[in-house]
Amino acid sequence: MWNKYKILFGIEIIVLFFLLLGCFQKEKLIWADADIVLTEENILYKGTEFSVKPGVYQIRVSASDAVLGQVWCSVKANSSPFRAFRCNETVLTNGSVFLESEIYVVGSTDGLYAECSTDGQAVRIENIEIYRTNLGNRMGVFLFVLLSAGLNYMLYFRERILLQSISKEKQFAFWSLSACIIITLFPYMTDYIGYAPQVMKLCERIKQLSENQTVVWAVEDLLLALPVLFRKIGFSLMVSYKMYIFVITAATTVVTYYLLFWCFKKETAALLGTVVYILAPQRIMSVYERGPIGVMLLNREFGEGAAWQSGNVWCILLICIKTLVVVGFYLWLEKKADPKIKWWIVFCLVLVFVGEAVYCVNNIAYTYAPVWIYS
């Protein structure tokens, strides 16, 4: 394996080295303006134009005194290639004096400018600065490591398949479970996130945990350490959340498969059970509608017992029971039914479960209003 792919590994190491070097570059000031006064008569400030190259930038705004009303700050472009730069309008709220927000630039863009506006309250902005950060390089390193690891694993996996050292059942399980994960993540194969109140709350919490040093971590926040980490690396809030959902789904799949395998000692039974569990519409709805730690959140929002009252816990229990019933039925078929009939029954069952899940994810993708949250 090493001999066959040593050139590839060598290239990966060299590229990684150069990417790592980029992570140590210092922030560079791209554009700045100072001492801007917004008043009731003059509520809008538009900065001079500047150009940017691909990378991750930050807009930093500092007010001289605590803001009384609200100040909206953003970077806009007169004209730019489609989605070449991505950022949200951010707000300096009552009492705050400093604002920092990321701008993701994926294509060279000219004619960018900073814009600030108030709700009528007089504000004196000390500085507006646009910095080019090394967050893009950090993201590059992370993604490269991830992709290289994935590629290397797949090559290793292929070698083992060709050497026939992996059973067909295991291969089948690997591909089927990968397909299940992809199906489940279908609504996130976009450049936005579907609007759901609980998901927005989770994103808000991730934002707080990643940006505010003073926020106290609660027990239910432990799982959010992962998206917070992604955020710290430099990914946008939305992408961090999507990656988190991916990790959670993959982990759930793997854990379910191994637990069922441990219980029933049968690859096919474990696979069928995992498919039923992962593709359960109730689980999918939980992910996209309520947020993956919906039960905990519900408890926090509405007090102990809210999750029970809302039916969340019952839903989760129902998925578990449904999985066990299907696996039990399969094991019964194994013993009693003719192999051909058994095959067709299982095939039809899988078709129904997959169809149900596809309908569910399609419906979510088709109906949820899009939201672009970068920071």
Binding site: F82, A84, P187, M189, T190, D191, G355, Y366, T367, Y368
Partner: protein, 760 residues
């Protein structure tokens, strides 16, 4: 058993007898002059007071029939007032008419009305917008023979279908025939019927370009009516100024609905009939090609189903009403099939000599339906040829490919020469549309593999996400095929299968994936657009990245078919049947599910003729002469210079006769309501002398009148001689092809007779 033998049966004779009897009645109806109903009266509308639905003629009694309605009027505004007919007593659908807008330079209407039930309560109404003056006058309702031509057409269509069923019944009884063929036949019939359901209603589903294509049909009809063939400039379009749409957007297949229009059917019915015909052709051609590629009829049937119910086809046909693109889908599998045979068949076999035919028909069909799809096809063909470069330079293969290309070229020569002539020599608006960027119109990955589509209403999805968007993509089932094929490839499965089908599937997988990437919004189209003007122009002309998915679908169907083929060939019957079940289930849950939503949710349009649409809509106006202000065009506006007096004029389709005098001492001019595309010629009718024509104000035809000119000038559009020669080349080419086919058939029959004699 020959066809004549199959038709020799009593019930066929009875059916034909009944048809002849009906035809006899119809012919009498056609020959008999139509009645004319005259109603006298005037109605003065008070200026400034809008009136909606004012009845100007009431209780008109008419028997069933198709009528031309001529209402005299006088107005000084255009497109502000409308006259129409209504009758609350006839059954729904018993009276078909849209009425007609009133124009300041016209003095009477001339629209058609289809009345299928006798009435005594027909009302002529006018919608007066309140602007300008309007006086209506006498009403003439003239009976046409269109009802009888319609009955005649329907009768013979039914008789042909019934006789075909009888003949098939006799053949089946006598010869028996193979059950597989019957299954396939009925399978194809089911696909065609189910895929045509949205067209089986007395309305058209709204589509982005529907109005434009209905105008194309009307344009062909008007052109044929005026004696123009082939149609180059649609005469009535742009308020009688003529629009050279047919020069650029070939209308070969649209002659079918145009002929139905001439036979008396409404444009709505003609369009629906066209959609059904295209669907039937798509089903048949797709089956022929896929069954030919996989050498398996059932796989051919399944692939035909996947292709016909593909999201892309439904999107083009019902969401966009993109006639060119969904018509082009008929020919795309033919090109692939031809190329597949050219590269895989034994070059020494006798059938190899015929391999160029599908390539020729495929390419000629693509050129004559949708040039952009043809360009994409040419690009993909070049890639395939580069991949298989060694095979391309095998003498026989090269000959076949060259024959295919030249065949398509000559078959389309009649269209290409005028196209290139105008494209190079005319300053058209299409040369100025390079500013349009397309990346924002790209898809999300989730859209590409979406399965349960509904009738959404958003086209440009990237500003609003994919919620409630139009159905676009290749669909989940083809995505599954793509993934499974990859898994087998990854696992080294294809190393052991040495069949040309898998080679084709591998190329299809790569190209299919590439085309999917090109259709995504993440593909940097805008960046490429900014490189230079050539790129900008090319990319702008693509308009929608989703266009790449037409070919993407063809390739992915091949990939899916190859999996089914593999399961069948490797004797994994269970998997083959499972694949079959998956295909059928996916067709019902995706294609048919979507069409069901379409029929239920999508708005319907009922347009019966061009008067109902107005005459001005040209979509993007790509084929207008640059600088033409379409809002300034109206019927019958004649302008002339100071010293000219126009005594009288008479206008026809792309022609005009003007009686005028030039009192001045210099060359003066007269401008006619005709758009000046190259080809207009003016003659003095008395001397036969040709007068100079140039582009006038707003690009209309301006005729220069020499000093002291007095007389009649005849201005008309005359196809240039090189256009006519190009038509001759195509005719000669078709005659040669016919001769070759006949010669080969005779040779084949002779060989068969000789073989039979030798056996005896």
């Amino acid at each position: 058993m020959s066809i004549i033998e199959m038709l020799r049966q009593k019930r066929v004779y009875i059916a034909v007898g009944v048809a002849i009897l009906i035809s006899f009645v119809c012919v009498i109806g056609i020959i008999m002059p139509g009645k004319e109903y005259l109603l006298y009266g005037n109605y003065y509308f008070t200026e400034g007071i809008a009136e909606h639905g004012t009845v100007i003629y009431d209780e008109i009694s008419l028997p069933p029939g198709v009528y031309d309605v001529i209402l005299e009027y006088d107005t000084n505004t255009s497109m502000k007032n409308l006259c129409y007919l209504e009758d609350g007593t006839v059954y729904t659908g018993g009276l078909l008419t849209n009425g007609e807008n009133l124009h300041k330079n016209l003095r009477q209407t001339d629209f058609r009305m289809w009345l299928f039930e006798g009435t005594k309560n027909l009302q002529m109404k006018v919608l007066y917008g309140g602007e300008g003056m309007l006086i209506t006058g006498n009403l003439t309702i003239r009976e046409t023979n269109a009802l009888w031509t319609m009955v005649l057409t329907i009768t013979w269509s039914i008789v042909v279908a019934v006789c075909a069923i009888f003949a098939f019944g006799k053949y089946d009884k006598a010869v028996g025939g193979d059950i597989e063929k019957k299954n396939i036949f009925w399978g194809l019939v089911c696909i065609a019927v189910l895929a045509s359901v949205p067209c089986m209603q007395n309305a058209n589903l709204t589509g982005g370009d529907l109005g434009y294509h209905l105008m194309r049909i009307e344009g062909i009809k008007d052109g044929l009516k005026s004696g123009q063939f082939p149609i180059r400039i649609e005469p009535e379009w742009l308020f009688g100024h003529g629009y050279a749409n047919a020069v650029f957007y070939c209308s070969t297949l649209l002659y079918f609905p145009a002929i139905l229009r001439l036979l008396g059917f409404t444009v709505m019915t003609s369009y629906n009939a066209y959609c059904i015909a295209v669907t039937i052709a798509t089903v048949g051609v797709a089956y022929y090609c896929f069954a030919g590629i996989f050498k398996d009829r059932y796989i051919g049937l399944l692939c035909s189903g996947l292709y016909t119910f593909s999201v892309v086809r439904i999107f083009h046909m019902f969401f966009r009403a993109a006639v060119g693109e969904y018509s082009a889908l008929i020919f795309m599998p033919l090109v692939l099939y031809g190329l597949y045979r050219a590269f895989t068949e034994d070059i020494k076999s006798k059938s190899y000599k015929n391999v160029w035919i599908p390539i020729t028909i495929g390419y000629a069909g693509l050129i004559q339906t949708h040039v952009l799809t043809c360009e994409i096809t040419a690009f993909l063909t070049i890639i395939i040829c580069l991949i298989l470069i060694k095979k391309v330079f095998v003498k026989e293969t090269f000959c076949v490919l060259a024959k295919g290309a030249l065949g398509a070229f000559f078959a389309s020569f009649w269209y290409l020469i005028p196209f290139l002539d105008y494209f190079i020599n005319e300053d058209l608006h299409v040369h100025y549309v390079s500013g349009r960027t397309i990346q924002e119109r790209g898809l999300y990955l989730a859209q590409v593999f979406f399965h349960w589509w509904k009738a959404g209403y958003k086209t440009l999805t990237n500003h609003e996400g994919m919620a409630e968007s139009h159905a676009m993509g290749v669909g989940l089932i083809l995505g599954i095929g793509l993934a499974v094929f990859f898994v087998f490839w990854f696992s080294g499965k294809w190393k052991t299968v040495k069949a040309p089908v898998i080679g084709l599937a591998k190329i299809s997988w790569v190209l299919g994936s590439l085309l999917i990437v090109l259709s995504l919004s993440i593909f940097p189209w805008d960046k490429l657009h900014g490189i230079n003007d050539t790129f900008a122009s090319l990319i702008s002309s693509i308009q929608f990245p989703v266009r790449f998915l037409s070919w993407g679908t063809v390739f992915l169907v091949v990939v899916f078919g190859s999996l089914l083929w593999y399961f069948k060939e490797s004797d994994r019957k269970q998997l083959f049947y499972a694949g079959t079940v998956v295909v059928i289930v996916s067709i019902f849950t995706s294609g048919i599910y979507l069409m069901d939503y379409l029929c239920h949710d999508r708005e319907l349009v009922r347009v019966y003729n061009e008067e109902g649409m107005g005459f001005g809509y040209v979509s993007g106006g790509e084929y207008l002469i640059q600088g033409t202000d379409t809002s300034a065009l109206d019927f019958g506006v004649l302008t002339f210079s100071e010293n000219v007096e126009v005594i009288s004029y008479e206008s026809g389709a792309l022609c005009m006769k003007v009686n005028c005098i030039n009192y001045g001492g210099n060359t003066e001019y007269v401008e006619l309501p005709l758009l000046h595309y190259n080809g207009y010629r003016a003659f003095d009718t008395q001397t036969g002398e040709e007068l100079n024509t140039v582009k006038g104000n707003n690009n209309v035809v301006r005729v220069h009148l020499p000093s002291g000119f007095k007389g009649e000038i005849d201005v008309r559009f005359v196809s240039p001689i090189h256009w006519r020669l190009s038509e001759v080349v195509t005719y000669v080419w078709w005659i040669c092809i016919g001769a070759i086919v006949v010669k080969r058939r005779i040779g084949k029959e002779k060989r068969e007779v000789r073989n039979a004699e030798n056996v005896e």
